[in-house]
Symmetry: C2
Subunit: 451 residues, 2 copies
């Protein structure tokens, strides 16, 4: 929707560039939101992107920098001098600033930092660079409005006026004690509705949820989602307030997490997008296909063992059912594993393993019996021998039960061992279930039909 | 993590209930966050849940109600009288209130509304009930702080004090004209840093992003994510400010959307969770399994046509490769469709269909050739006839190309026709690709080996 608009803007921009109508172009660009401008720079040829970038003022370009695709940003930063980058960084909030500096090559990093205007700002950024990008510290910004519990509302408003000049959006006012330890929050509502002489100590809300600076980002996302938080204070080991995380950064964590699981379930290594280069796409897709190929070659071996029954007019039909058996084993496995992976992600796998085992077996048994009945009907229509149909039907039930158990327990075991359970969905479970399925199918048939 | 804590709390609570130590229990419950209390009520037996619920004061119970699982809430609401429900509703913000009332049976709905204390609040709730739950109107709340552009900051602060008494969290101050038409936003920063006599007209920010009340919720989620918004004003057809949507409601939309795609890709109809009843789980899983079964029976028909080659010692080996071919066709199809579905969801499917076709064919050709080489190596090791191996290898390449084209274009076509493209992932694409794959495999082998 929005994209269509930007798509129409690009030809107009290119026209203005080639006609050298800078003034007209500037006017047009000034109308656009920095997020849309970033989208345009990602789309347009690089030469035009640089041209536009140089034409914009640094307040807008710094915002654009944070929104660009990684590769466009990398290319633009390469063209800019350390001085120019420092000017962009000066305009940014500490968390965005640290993210951009972290992407620079080592030598350039130090030069850029040394060129920053505001020493306090530079200190905060360097401080943030210490944290792992997947921790609360890596997500947080240092900008926050902080008041001391001994102040009156009057002092507080005066101080907020001073602090607010450096902060774009005031989300929450935090209350700390003399040792900078987080005590609570002060709501705008209570400030507006209480006498200005009241001490903060008496009106602040002391039930504040916070996270430790080294908390994992997915855990932070869970806390913010669970308690519907828009901003979350971050404290150090001693409980001192060191920063805050806003929900917009967490939205990205939630989305990335969901997409990662989706891609793994679909047999893509992470981070493949429709617009990546062919080489990137091959790297994302080929490994799982090779895994699938080896699985398929495994079934070739199993079936070779049963080559002999191809001479038997009744038994040879078993081979016709191998893709069906493999498909059912694969589908059941993916269903079971997906439910478990999602349950683990949302912390809703409750009850004992034993209950889960029982539930999964009953479920597969019922599904298996319904599908087996359909196979029997099919066998009657095709006028197969009833014992043959029964053998196929019963081995189908067994395959379904075993496939669902594999699908259920492999992710649970991985999770207990600290491995991402989402790895056990998709091609991994399909491939292993294909082999197990075909193996079980032939052996049960052998047992029942006695060949 | 948090859940473990609540798990330990439950036995303690049950003990206090059976010992009738209400005072002690009340103290313990008062310490807990309403989100945790909701989690406990979802977990504990229903009798204890009701006991706890009646013990808590209505400010806390109303917050708990909005956080409960749908079925726990339904059971609790059944036990409460219309008067009691109305008291809970009185405490809630309009969007949560409307959501709960919408869940009540028709007769109870009207009685509850008639019992509400605050007429303005009741009007707002009834107003919200008109909107589709998957639209901006269905997500928004009516609580907002609104000032007129002609006011001075002084008047504005006075009015905000008055309005804020009814509002828990002041997110943003909206500026409207005499006709209630949304003009812009007033930042706390500009209020804090400008003289109190300045007219709002001169200091408000007029570049405000808003959505129409009938906008689809997924579109709203995209806008809020794209522009990193924490709160988004909603306007009617004339541009009049009618409500606001906060990001915490959108986080749920984003998560639900991602989970829906994931579940469809895994062959689950929507909304199946690990803790659903067996019957719900069967309903979620069986339809796709039946689809897979019919696909498998389709391959039985195709293979029956080639029954004759089982007499030929060289050719009969083709049958050993059918699960491999089906698996590769399925995996490739799921990979391609997942990339397209995700690209469509994120609006990053760019360029013409023709380019996409070309890219997908080159990609599959390269992947196919690599996998075909592996097949040739395998054939050499197994001492297969070279023509046989070549036939398998070349049909594998063809199957991969066609499977990836099906995986790419089916979701694109569904999307163009307004059908959710995620339907075309998972079992749907695997099943159809299984059949196509086996069909192509045997016919190309026939062509090459001349049987």
């Amino acid at each position: 929707m929005q994209f269509e608009t930007n798509k129409n803007t690009i030809p107009k921009i290119k026209q203005l560039i080639s006609a050298k109508k800078d003034l007209h172009l500037s006017e047009m660009l000034a109308e656009l939101h920095h997020v849309d401008l970033a989208e345009i720079l990602d789309e347009i040829d690089f030469e035009s992107a640089i041209y536009i970038f140089k034409l914009l003022d640094s307040e807008k370009t710094s915002d654009i920098l944070t929104e660009l695709d990684d590769d466009t940003r990398e290319r633009i930063l390469k063209v800019l001098s350390a001085k120019e980058i420092a000017e962009e960084i000066d305009e940014l909030e500490t968390d965005d600033a640290a993210d951009i500096i972290a992407e620079l090559p080592e030598e350039k990093k130090e030069i850029v930092i040394s060129q920053l205007d505001d020493v306090e700002h530079a200190k905060d950024i360097v401080d943030l660079l210490r944290y792992d990008e997947h921790s609360a510290g890596g997500l947080m910004g240092k900008e926050l409005v902080k008041v001391y519990e001994d102040w009156s509302i009057f002092t507080c408003v005066r101080e907020m006026r001073r602090q607010a000049e450096n902060i774009d959006k005031v989300h929450t006012v935090y209350v700390v004690d003399d040792h900078e330890i987080l005590k609570g929050i002060l709501s705008l509502k209570s400030m507006l509705t209480t006498s200005t002489k009241a001490p903060i100590k008496e009106i602040y809300n002391d039930s504040v949820i916070s996270v430790k600076v080294d908390e994992d980002d997915e855990e932070v996302a869970k806390v913010m989602q669970k308690y519907d938080l828009i901003v979350l204070p971050v404290v150090d080991e001693m409980g001192r307030l060191v920063g805050k995380i806003t929900i917009d950064d967490i939205v990205d964590v939630i989305k990335d997490e969901a997409e990662k699981d989706y891609q793994l379930a679909a047999g893509l290594t992470e981070d493949v997008e429709a617009d990546d280069t062919i080489f990137q796409l091959i790297r994302g897709r080929l490994p799982w296909l090779i895994l699938g190929l080896f699985g398929g070659l495994g079934s070739v071996f199993i079936m070779q063992d049963f080559e002999g029954i191809m001479q038997n007019d009744a038994l040879k039909k078993l081979f016709f059912f191998t893709p069906l058996i493999a498909a059912m084993a694969g589908n059941v496995g993916v269903q079971s594993s997906a439910i478990v992976v999602q349950g683990l992600a949302n912390d809703i796998i409750k009850g004992s393993l034993w209950n889960r085992l029982l539930k999964e077996i009953s479920l597969s048994l019922i599904n298996g019996i319904i599908l087996a009945l359909l196979i029997l009907v099919f066998g009657q229509i095709m006028q197969y021998d009833i014992y043959f149909s029964l053998a196929v039907a019963i081995s189908l039930i067994s395959v379904i039960i075993i496939a669902s158990l594999i699908g259920t327990f492999v992710p649970i075991i991985l999770d207990k061992r600290g491995i991402d359970p989402a790895l056990a969905t998709g091609p991994f479970i399909t491939t292993s279930n294909d082999i197990f399925g075909i193996f079980i199918f032939f052996y049960i048939a052998k047992l029942m039909l006695g060949f």
